[in-house]
């Protein structure tokens, strides 16, 4: 198979380029979010994340300080720093390292002169503004309280910060939601495994009536939409006193995950060599012993695959959490928090949204990249056969 295209150099090149383009297209959205999550809030809205490594250019103005005017011969001189002046304060971050690139004396031409040059106006005023913002203005007469304004274009160097993450984890309450998500996901992953493993063994290696019917019921259950379960089961939970609670969502996730668990495990167990199991039976081992001593340890890859699936699924779930958990702040999981709270109340705060998204996908990404082998194996067992 490797040499189909191997002999045609242009085609190989085309393949490299095509794969590269595909990867870039697939990565760009995530990279954008990742970069944005580290950017200063003020910069996110001023320049695109793809410009993040470059300085941000924006314009501002300041009024020179009339009180500081001094008479020198027959002119009045004002000196100071335009970035500290009334009006310019607050336009830039307090500790931002701002550099002026150009200035002007009228609103219409804010970058008429490069920083460091001397600008003369028709009225005989002379302006000199340095890159660091210090200015010297020479006026032919006493400015009184009408000091001239200076318009300027400034560059703020790229600034990266962890502040968004700080805000998300403290003020926005993501820390609580993160804990809640883990609280939902871990028991929902652990509980169904053993239940499913016994059932899978029975279907794979024991003989009984209705075996095919039960297998059909499990395969069918794989595709039953969870939407159907919401109303009847929520009513059932309320009737037996569980209501909307963590216990309820653990039960629901365990119930929903069982079909896949049994199916994956049965496929894997049925593929174990018959000899091992039969020779164990000949040696007098009971089904219980065969399961515990032989089948369960051998099925580790399938157990791992299911655990990863179920963990990712329950961790990432929004639907079941919205229905089976109460919607108050103390029991919100991250997906609900983002979808219902952050997107609603902080819809325009892109830095917060980006970092919240990254807090929520950090764990799945780690699980995904460290256990990809098992995940792929599980997918194949579930689909290719």
């Amino acid at each position: 198979m490797t040499n189909i295209a191997g002999k045609r150099a242009p085609l190989v090149w085309a393949m490299h380029v095509a794969v590269f383009l595909l990867v870039v297209i697939w990565l760009v959205p995530t990279v954008g979010l990742f970069v944005s999550s580290f950017r200063d809030r003020d910069q996110i809205t001023v320049s695109g994340w793809w410009e993040a490594p470059f300085a941000v250019e924006n314009s501002g103005y300041g009024r020179t300080d009339a009180d500081a005017a001094l008479r020198e011969g027959d002119i009045w001189v004002i000196e100071g720093n335009i970035l500290d002046s009334a009006g310019a304060e607050g336009q830039f971050g307090a500790d931002a390292d701002v550099r002026l690139v150009a200035f002007g004396t009228s609103l219409r031409r804010p970058s008429e002169f490069p920083a460091g040059e001397v600008a003369s106006t028709e009225d005989g005023e002379r302006f000199r503004v340095e890159a660091d913002g210090t200015y010297r203005v020479e006026l032919p007469e006493d400015p009184g309280d009408r000091a001239p304004r200076i318009y300027f274009t400034a560059q703020t160097p790229p600034s990266f910060t962890l502040q968004n993450y700080g805000t998300v984890l403290t003020a926005a309450g993501m820390d609580r939601a993160f804990l809640n998500t883990l609280t939902v996901a871990i028991p929902s992953t652990v509980i169904p495994i053993l239940v499913a493993a016994y059932a899978a063994y029975a279907i794979a290696w024991m003989d009984f009536r209705f075996r095919n019917l039960i297998l059909a019921a499990i395969v069918g259950a794989l595709v039953v939409p969870h939407q159907l379960a919401l109303v009847p089961l929520l009513r059932l939970h309320q009737a037996v006193g569980i209501g909307q609670s963590f216990l309820g969502i653990w039960l629901a996730h365990s119930g929903f995950g069982l079909a896949l668990a049994i199916y994956l495990l049965r496929n894997y167990m049925a593929g174990l060599p018959r000899d091992i199991i039969e020779s164990a039976k000949v040696d007098g081992a009971s089904d219980f012993q065969i399961f515990r001593r032989i089948v369960l340890p051998l099925s580790f890859p399938a157990l791992a695959a299911f655990s990863i699936f179920q963990f990712l699924w329950t961790y990432n779930d929004l639907l079941v959490a919205k229905v089976f958990l109460p919607s108050n702040e103390t029991s919100r999981v991250m997906t609900v928090k983002i979808a219902d709270d952050l997107l609603g109340s902080r819809g325009g705060d892109w830095g917060i949204l980006a970092s919240a998204a990254f807090v929520s996908i950090a764990v799945p990404l780690v699980v995904f990249f460290t256990m990809q082998k098992y995940l792929v194996r599980g997918l194949l067992a579930g689909s290719v056969k």
Binding site: G48, Y198, Y201, Q227, L228, V231, F246
Partner: protein, 325 residues
């Protein structure tokens, strides 16, 4: 009790309970009800073996029936009653939800069902074929596969940045500006097209899944068939479309149906991106509009989704049966 502690306790009770149940049940069957000794030793052994599969199956079957099959019936019955659940109203919930936006949701959903599986499978197939042939293919694969790990909500958020109605945030609008446009557009508010922009998100997520499975299938295609085609002078495209693809057709179908079922269930993307506004409603998000407000309508929508899934279910069950022979 804080939920974390409660969780740990539940794990302990759940796992301990399982072990206890299986151990005790076996012990009782073997030693108490059907002891393998005395006059009936042989008959008892046989009886114990006949009971044991059901011991193993019982907890799983109980949960499976309660959480998967009972709701199918329960939802259908509930959908025949009014909002309060007291009066039998026949199919009027179905008629009402169809009039009040259900038709739009259904049509949109049909477009999703056709386009998302088709595009994901097609791009996945191309990606599988290309990445299998180059040195850094596995690396490329895990990057394309990565969106699978991300929640639908986070994926939507990632794409909200792409679609943002602001040339300094959204790359779509930035590209428009770079090409000379002087006003922004909100891709999510362009009628009809916004549905496709939402579908892109699910295609982005599912392509990796299709790619991984199809790449395994492509590798299992017997090499002789490909080599014979090379000797006969087939070009790479002919080999791919005439030799390899026909041999993995059954896997392509499995991938296609798996994504189809997913499309019928995913409400997160529409819910997060548009909330169903601007005519982007699909059945799962439409159902959530009624959830907590009108159980009758909600279950009616859910049952429509179920009906849409049935052909796939039937096909899957048939496949599973034929494998066993």
């Amino acid at each position: 009790m804080p939920p974390v502690l409660q969780g740990l306790l539940t794990i302990a009770v759940g796992v301990g309970g399982c072990i206890g149940y299986f151990y005790l049940a076996n012990f009782i069957v073997d030693a108490v009800i059907f002891p393998a000794k005395g006059r009936n030793a042989n008959a008892n052994l046989r009886r114990a073996d006949a009971v044991r599969p059901w011991l193993f199956l019982f907890p799983a079957l109980f949960l499976l029936v309660l959480y998967t099959w009972y709701p199918v019936v329960g939802s259908f019955i509930r959908s025949l009653y009014d909002r309060a659940g007291d009066d039998f109203v026949g199919l009027s919930n179905y008629a009402a939800m169809w009039r009040e936006g259900g038709q739009r949701a259904f049509l949109n959903n049909m477009a999703w069902v056709v386009i998302v599986p088709a595009m994901s499978t097609f791009i996945g197939l191309i990606a599988a074929q290309l990445t299998d042939k180059i040195g850094w293919g596995n690396f490329a694969k895990s990057l394309i596969f990565m969106p699978m790990a991300v929640s639908f909500v986070s994926a939507s958020l990632i794409w909200k940045f792409v679609y943002a109605n602001d040339p300094d945030i959204g790359i779509i609008n930035a590209v428009r500006y770079a090409l000379g446009a002087d006003s922004t557009v909100d891709p999510l508010q362009i009628p009809i097209w916004n549905n496709f922009f939402l579908m892109v998100i699910l295609i982005w997520i599912q392509t990796g899944f299709a790619m991984v499975i199809l790449s395994a299938a492509l590798r299992s295609v017997p090499e002789e068939t490909v080599e014979a085609a090379i000797i006969d002078g087939a070009n790479p495209f002919q080999i791919f479309f005439r030799i390899q693809v026909p041999q993995i057709m059954s896997t392509i179908l499995v991938v296609w149906t798996t994504i189809t079922v997913l499309v019928l269930k995913v409400f997160d993307i529409v819910y997060t991106m548009t909330g169903g506004n601007f005519d982007t409603e699909i059945l799962p998000s439409f159902m959530m509009d009624f959830m907590f407000r009108d159980d009758g309508r909600a279950t009616a929508v859910a049952f429509v989704i179920m009906v849409a899934v049935v052909p796939v279910m039937w096909w899957n069950i048939r496949q599973a049966r034929s494998e066993k022979r």
